[in-house]
């Protein structure tokens, strides 16, 4: 999967208590259908942008961190609940931000559907992107 072009993006939660800037070259942008991402975002699937940890600056406030497994962190605004980020030892040095929390979600372009083996049976993306049972590093596309 080609690495996306460098970005300069801003975002934050719905109440404005947490604001961030992303300035660097993403590793990837992907939809994730896994059950944990669905539950974190309360959505049929989540869309993530992965960046080097040093590309991230919090300009206002800090997310509250909740660990769904040891060291696997998910961050949200404690005031309004907007989900913002994820960090996992599986991807050292990376921070994953939820594209829906960006000020301009259309400025990024998702590349693949990950964990499509876990997709809900009424989700049928018509975007033509490749679908992987887990991630693109762990096997060929499903179709």
């Amino acid at each position: 999967m080609p690495r996306p072009d460098p970005v300069k993006l801003s975002g934050g939660c719905q109440c404005g208590a947490v604001r961030f800037k992303l300035d660097g070259q993403p590793y990837w942008v992907a939809h994730c259908h896994c059950s944990l991402c669905r539950k974190q975002t309360s959505a049929p699937y989540a869309t993530w942008i992965s960046l080097p940890a040093d590309a991230v600056t919090f300009t206002k406030g800090e997310p509250r961190i909740w660990e769904d497994k040891p060291d696997r962190q998910r961050g949200f605004c404690p005031e309004c609940g907007t989900q913002l980020l994820g960090k996992t030892p599986k991807y050292p040095g990376e921070v994953h931000f939820l594209v829906g929390a960006l000020d301009e979600p259309n400025a990024v372009t998702p590349q693949v559907h990950s964990f499509f083996a876990d997709a809900l049976n009424w989700v049928h993306p018509g975007d033509g992107l490749r679908r992987f049972a887990t991630t693109s590093k762990e096997g060929p596309p499903l179709d």
Binding site: Q40, T47, W66, D68, V99, G100, H124
Partner: protein, 136 residues
């Protein structure tokens, strides 16, 4: 309470709910406000009579996302759970992805399609409404 009830809750399971097995409606919402509340490209809601949903565990934290609109989330893990709007005074809307079995219901339409992200292309053939079904 019946065994056909819908059960669900947040990621950390601190907040749990039970609702009737037949929602009033199920729809995908593409509005900016739902997107910002969840962090996801769009969300999926099921509407229920307000007094038909029961809660256990911790109380969700409530947040007024705009005048007349209240959302709630788990204070521990942040999972968004509900929406209540002055336009639907007798309804409580639950996020389908927080159901224990989100496939127990079937979404019937896309609403607020006018605000959808440019790279979202549902291949599900469902009707798309600019705003809500009652508005065109």
């Amino acid at each position: 309470m019946t065994d056909t009830d819908i059960t669900g809750g947040c990621l950390c399971r601190a907040v749990r709910y039970r609702a009737p097995g037949e929602p009033l409606w199920v729809a995908h919402c593409h509005c900016d406000s739902c997107r910002k509340a969840s962090g996801a490209p769009f969300v999926t809601w099921a509407g229920f009579p307000k007094d038909a949903v029961s809660w256990s565990g911790d109380a969700p934290r409530r947040f007024a996302s705009s005048p007349g609109n209240t959302r709630s989330f788990c204070p521990t893990c942040g999972t968004s759970l509900t929406y209540e709007g002055a336009r639907w005074p007798d309804e409580l809307h639950l996020l389908v992805a927080t159901f224990d079995d989100p496939e127990a219901v079937a979404p019937a339409r896309h609403v607020y399609w006018r605000e959808h992200l440019s790279w979202i292309e549902p291949g599900d053939g469902l009707p798309r409404h600019d705003r809500t079904t009652s508005e065109g």
